[in-house]
Symmetry: C2
Subunit: 152 residues, 2 copies
């Protein structure tokens, strides 16, 4: 489980483990890391009658990013979203312009292999690459199917 990792990581950096920090991390674990924004995390905790102030949610999320538990994302809205950093699976995102769903393209749909040779090319030219961010937008298979249904 992840919460113990947090406990350990905090201790190492002389931060303190608090109920609030545990709760915020748990939100991401419980929701299966559904690209939540800070406001959504706050609401989720309110619903569970768990008292964490909004300021603390923001501060804790920042901390979790700093410690490498969360990755900060942007999808062209006015909000930052976050996902659990899953060390062994890099992925890209597909955002459906119709239903808004964010798909994670990984495993057999991973773009990693495809990009690998390209990244080598950049590195040969002196670019040192720390992060790759690949996003697609369009219509997802589900919505595309529905749309076809309507046409007929």
């Amino acid at each position: 489980m992840h919460v113990d990792n947090l406990k350990k990581e905090l201790k190492e950096k002389q931060y303190r483990m608090t109920p609030q920090r545990e709760q915020v991390l748990k939100v991401f674990l419980e929701t299966n890391s559904e690209h939540l924004g800070a406001e959504e995390v706050y609401r989720y905790l309110l619903n569970k009658r768990t008292n964490v102030s909004k300021a603390t949610v923001y501060r804790t999320i920042d901390l979790l990013v700093e410690l490498g538990f969360l990755r900060k994302l942007q999808f062209d809205e006015g909000v930052y979203r976050y996902e659990l950093v899953d060390k062994d699976s890099k992925h890209s995102h597909f955002i459906c312009n119709s239903c808004g769903k964010i798909y994670e393209l990984k495993d057999e749909l991973s773009a990693e292999k495809v990009l690998h040779e390209y990244i080598l090319k950049l590195e040969k030219l002196g670019y040192k690459i720390d992060e790759v961010d690949l996003k697609f937008r369009g219509i997802c298979p589900k919505c595309a199917k529905k749309a076809r249904g309507i046409v007929r």
Copy 2:
């Protein structure tokens, strides 16, 4: 020149051509489309003693995006940035974590070919792709060279 295209495009959609709209578009043409944010466009015009209010800058930029003259970008700051849509050259971005410069990876550095087969794969699975957004972060060749210099 692009300003005439704007004039034409506006007429077609029964929008009006105004000095402010011309000025805002010109900023992007004159600065070689350096990924400016709205605030920067506003400042640029102030310096040139061209009077355009901030609200108009925002509204005009939105319009230019809607008309397809500008593309809206996000680089994990709290600001939207914009670039001229250059029809015949899709490109990705490399953001240097050291100097902050944003590089456009195009022409011989274009990732288009590499991604092409991958996109076909997605489309075979029913995804309809309208937009691809690929970004890298790391250290650019210039900064990498400098850093090496310091080490010695």
